[in-house]
């Protein structure tokens, strides 16, 4: 990819996830109520990796789910063509749980809004937290992440690309100018 500036490489991503896992443990007084929900698609893979870390740290089997927020988007009308959707899997009871929503990049906050709305259709969580690998600013809704991998001050003309091994064959976070990202 031309002019891609890698800001987190493979080792950085791994270390960041380990750190976030520790922070989650630290800030969760009742680990038995903890559950992770990843947002499709890359957030779901990151959530699965956090689960492995947390299982080890807590010696428990932390419930893991993933959700697709395509049906909850607020921009369905303005996008051309119906988006690709994936099935959601939330197989545990969310009532009263502390749910950590996991996504790759936090940007406008609209995805998080949709994810929270989706979660409430499964029940009534006790607490919802947000973990992201990169926070690039430019919020349009009042959200603040509880766990951040890296703060990336970017302009709107740039694009933050998160790639994960499971999908893209490589773990990295890179910034590209929008023209290249679109091409």
């Amino acid at each position: 990819m031309p002019d891609a500036k890698v800001v987190l490489d493979r080792d950085d991503v791994r270390r960041t996830l380990v750190r976030i896992a520790h922070e989650i443990v630290e800030k969760t007084p009742e680990p038995e109520l903890l559950a992770l929900v990843g947002i499709h698609r890359r957030g779901a893979f990151l959530a699965a990796r956090l689960k492995d870390q947390l299982d080890e740290l807590l010696g428990a089997d932390v419930p893991l789910g993933d959700i697709d927020i395509a049906f909850y988007r607020d921009d369905l009308r303005s996008r051309s063509g119906a988006p690709v959707v994936h099935a959601s899997h939330v197989d545990f009871d969310v009532d009263g749980r502390t749910i950590v929503i996991v996504d790759d990049v936090l940007y406008t906050g609209r995805t998080v809004r949709a994810a929270i709305e989706a979660l409430f259709d499964y029940g009534r969580p006790g607490r919802i937290q947000l973990a992201v690998l990169a926070d690039r600013g430019h919020r349009e809704l009042p959200f603040r992440p509880d766990y951040v991998g890296k703060n990336l001050p970017t302009s709107k003309q740039e694009r933050v690309n998160v790639r994960v091994e499971e999908l893209d064959g490589v773990d990295e976070v890179a910034i590209t100018a929008l023209e290249e990202a679109v091409a």
């Binding site: 049906f71 369905l76 009308r77 051309s80 988006p83 099935a87 899997h89 709305e117 259709d121 499964y122």
Partner: protein, 312 residues
């Protein structure tokens, strides 16, 4: 996709995309809130000129699960009985600015006509003896869940082919998805030149064992004039799918409602080979996927406004 009028308008990729989405919708039925806001604020108009419980209620449920508003308009007890034409009805109901019109009509081609009079997306829910595309999609969906796929499978459609819009849509859909289709029925209920759709034609069930899937059609007595069949008993003797004819490895389908003791014996309806209730369940998710395909991500230029009536 703008409308869903005929399976003939769909490619294999279109069918697969719609059915993959239907699969994604399946988990919604297991949740506490069985609804997603995907089509919030959209209006779906059910316009039914023929009796239908299953199709109409399944479209209604599908639209409601997607948070769309539904208006049901049945021909009996409405202005249609007072002599209003289809066109006038569509133009009048257009004042409600529907985003989609689901139409069932006893006349072939009605859905295509309506599509020319409105800017709403039109979904054919059965037009005369022509087509019933959502039935075919839900049948393919059921078979994909049951068998994984239907490439190279042999599907026998048995019964009253001539009066069946289900048969026509299903032949097209099964062929598009790579299956071999064989039609079986009495010569009086077999349309001429139906082989042109790329299927085999037989007049007896002697080699039924070759089929992977047996798709029995309802004997539509209401569409017959008494000359097609000597008697239901004779039909049942030659063409009924019963425990003697159906093999345990075969899958049995029927679009409903079943005439027990005519096209199917009671024992096979209740047998493990029958996937008839799976078909009904698939109806809702597949119709959700169709509504979503047509209504999500439509153009910004106010898709829901009806066009001014065109001079005829």
């Amino acid at each position: 996709m703008r409308h869903l009028l005929s399976i003939a308008d769909l490619t294999r990729e279109d069918i697969e995309r719609i059915l993959d989405r239907a699969t994604a919708f399946e988990q919604i039925a297991d949740r506490e809130v069985k609804k997603v806001p995907a089509l919030r604020g959209r209006t779906v108009l059910n316009l039914f000129y023929e009796a239908s419980t299953r199709t109409r209620s399944s479209f209604e449920l599908a639209a409601k699960r997607l948070s769309a508003d539904v208006v049901n308009f049945a021909a009996s007890g409405s202005s249609v009985e007072k002599g209003e034409s289809l066109k006038d009805t569509v133009l009048t109901l257009g004042a409600h600015s529907p985003d989609a019109i689901v139409i069932r009509s006893p006349h072939a081609g009605a859905a295509a006509l309506v599509a020319g009079w409105t800017s709403a997306a039109v979904i054919n829910a059965g037009d005369g003896k022509h087509e019933h595309p959502t039935q075919a999609l839900l049948d393919v969906h059921t078979l994909r869940s049951k068998l994984g796929g239907i490439d190279g499978r042999s599907i026998w459609i048995v019964g009253d082919i001539a009066h069946s819009r289900v048969a026509r849509s299903n032949i097209l859909a099964f062929r598009a998805m790579g299956a071999h289709v064989t039609l079986v029925g009495p010569p009086t209920l077999m349309p001429r030149d139906i082989e042109a759709l790329g299927c085999d034609v037989r007049y007896d069930l002697d080699d039924l064992r070759q089929a992977d899937v047996v798709y029995a059609l309802r004997v539509q007595r209401e569409r017959m004039d008494g000359k097609e069949l000597p008697s239901l008993r004779e039909y049942a003797a030659r063409y009924q799918i019963n425990g003697r004819r159906l093999h345990p490895r075969q899958v049995l389908m029927h679009p409903g409602p079943v005439n027990r003791g005519v096209e199917l014996s009671g024992e096979v309806v209740d047998s493990p080979q029958a996937v008839i209730t799976m078909q009904v369940r698939a109806g809702v998710v597949v119709r959700m996927a169709v509504l979503y395909e047509l209504l999500a991500g439509t153009r910004l230029d106010s898709p829901s406004r009806m066009r001014e009536p065109q001079p005829a």
